[in-house]
Symmetry: C2
Subunit: 391 residues, 2 copies
């Protein structure tokens, strides 16, 4: 809508204001997106598969990519998906959308940790479901509170169908669910017949050693549907991910009308990504992303540590794209935003990530997009704005 | 499930039985899929866009592809979509799925011409909607019957939300809605506030002169949402199409959670297809497909004319992938199928395409996949099987 900088029909989603370090966008480091590797893989995929790359793909996704994923998941997570326990998705957003369309009925209750990924909430709200928030703290989802919510629902004669959660390198907070809570959560979900939808999009971006084990890898079959993605570890533009779940859930999706009619989601791109993964370029890219984002995290956290007053605190994420700042009680991040933007930094105020009216004194910062110097500068600017706020 | 011919995890959707000419599959001519053109376009797109081809795309799809489509639609259809009257979809199946998710509420009544594309019915049934069939004949949807259905619903205090129809080169029958009925349908839908979802997937494959005008191009704004696709005119594996509709419908989809979270559907592939379209390879490919499929249609219809008994009839399609055979009354196409398969030809029995139990003496034949000699042979085999049926 800005006639000087935006064409009538843009090509990209991101829209930046010149002169602003905009930490609202959880977008990848553009300079490290694998242009050359995708060039090689495109050429190789069309050479290897020819017309087979361009016709209707198998509804579960191409076998070679599923085979590669199974091997990698087995090596990294100690559990290999069975033959009918994995499928390719069109990214986690579309995977979630399809799970909701095909595995819920109108009026179903869906539990959502709060705060949570705000755009997943938008996908959930596009379906005729009833959302119920469950609080989270510095150790992730409060499993005790979840148990109470489930008990209360049962007293009302209701039952929750599924739980949406981001247990690893959480969006927006960056924290991971503690090991103890993971075990309690899995046991509770199994006992209650609750399907856990585990949004595992940041697993590959781990900066301080291996990520925590996925809920999927530790749970009995059927308790967890885990959404994995190439969006953060390769490139969001490929719109490609995978789902590991019970054969009955995988079958519900692969036998649904959408894939029966159109064949595999993103078949052409899936074959290109197959070649890229098989070549070793994927692993090399993940390593480079981890080094890049680790340095960016450290630059932002370093800036915050230097500049923010001692009344502020923030989480130190071991992976993913985000950190979460807690302002002094009474300081409102929505009121802070225009002053921060006037000073050259933007962010998303915390209340955006809660289902209920909460989080007034919190905000989310993404450290993925900008180089370290900009992130350190953003920390300084934010510190100044906070120190001067309300004066 | 066939251990001798199918790997545990296949790559393609199609599964053929050796020795059978399988006219059940509405799949493209593999030998004319544009492998070399896609190779050129992939290289060019990554050169032109670099990292911008790999990050989050604009929710409506990339501007250059929308611009190209608008120009082409304007030239061919005499109506150019306005700035917010078009968006890129992930193919017609996903476009339909998203329309249903975002533009209906549970319990909405959806009218469906019968017979119709059986897999669209599966997508419709994956949503909490009530389907009501409206009969079609050799001139397409019976608009008088539609008016009666709408009146009857109104007497019951109900209202239909939308109509799903394939008015041009219909699947399964191959016929096109007559010009007179198009006008009556548009006027009726406008009067009744009925949204027409026009599945226009075969428009580019016209073999006897230009296709009939789309309902979208002739209707007032807001009456028709038209689903167009690259699946038949370029390659189904790209999973790419477009939607022309009112700004309010386009906005509902582009502002929905799915695209807000993931950005444009198939952004990377959409940029490759942009380059392919701009290069002229798209138009050249469409011309080649039309020549190919015209010859295949003529071969199949020639075979049927030579071999089928005079008690049989069939439609002569002017475009698309299919013809529709009407057997003598009392002859059951489901009973015919095993005998045809034993003789080396397969097809889909007509009842599969009806919502109500009808069409026992009909069947669908696809002429898209096989070369002319095989199609002529299939006609001969089918004629023999029909002549000997029940003897």
């Amino acid at each position: 809508m800005n006639p000087t900088s935006t064409p009538a029909r843009p090509t990209l989603q991101i829209a930046l204001t010149p002169g602003t370090i905009d930490l609202a966008w959880g977008h990848p480091a553009a300079e490290f997106l694998p242009v050359a590797a995708m060039q090689r893989a495109s050429t190789a995929a069309l050479q290897r598969y020819g017309a087979a790359a361009l016709t209707y793909g198998h509804p579960a996704g191409p076998g070679p990519l599923l085979d590669w994923l199974c091997q990698r998941i087995g090596q990294r997570e100690g559990r290999t998906p069975g033959l009918h326990e994995i499928m390719i998705t069109g990214g986690n957003s579309l995977g979630l959308d399809q799970l909701l369309t095909l595995c819920t009925v109108p009026g179903d209750i869906v539990l959502v940790e709060s705060p949570t990924y705000h755009l997943a909430v938008r996908i959930l709200r596009d379906h005729p479901l009833t959302l119920v928030p469950v609080p989270a703290d510095g150790d992730g989802l409060q499993v005790e509170a979840l148990a109470e919510t489930l008990a209360e629902l049962r007293r009302e004669g209701k039952r929750a169908r599924l739980l949406y959660t981001v247990p690893t390198f959480h969006n927006p907070t960056g924290i991971s669910l503690s090991a103890a809570r993971r075990q309690t959560l899995i046991a509770l979900a199994e006992r209650e017949g609750l399907l856990i939808v585990e949004d595992d999009v940041y697993r590959e971006l781990a900066y301080d050693g291996p990520p925590p084990p996925s809920l999927w890898s530790q749970a009995p079959l059927g308790v967890v549907a885990r959404l994995g993605s190439f969006s953060k570890s390769l490139a969001p533009g490929v719109r490609l991910g995978w789902l590991t779940a019970s054969p009955s859930i995988i079958r519900r999706l692969t036998d649904g009308g959408l894939l029966d009619s159109g064949g595999g989601i993103n078949h052409f791109t899936a074959l290109i990504v197959t070649l890229l993964c098989e070549s070793g370029d994927y692993d090399a890219g993940v390593a480079q992303f981890c080094n890049t984002y680790r340095a960016r995290r450290d630059a932002l956290l370093g800036g915050l540590a230097q500049a923010l007053p001692p009344t502020c605190s923030w989480y130190r994420p071991s992976g993913g794209f985000f950190t979460w700042v807690i302002l002094p009680t009474g300081m409102n991040s929505r009121a802070l935003l225009p002053q921060a933007e006037a000073a050259g930094v933007s962010f998303i105020p915390g209340p955006k990530f809660y289902l209920e009216p909460r989080g007034e004194n919190t905000l989310r910062l993404a450290f993925s997009y900008y180089p370290p110097a900009s992130l350190a500068e953003a920390g300084q600017i934010l510190g100044n704005v906070i120190r001067n706020f309300g004066r």
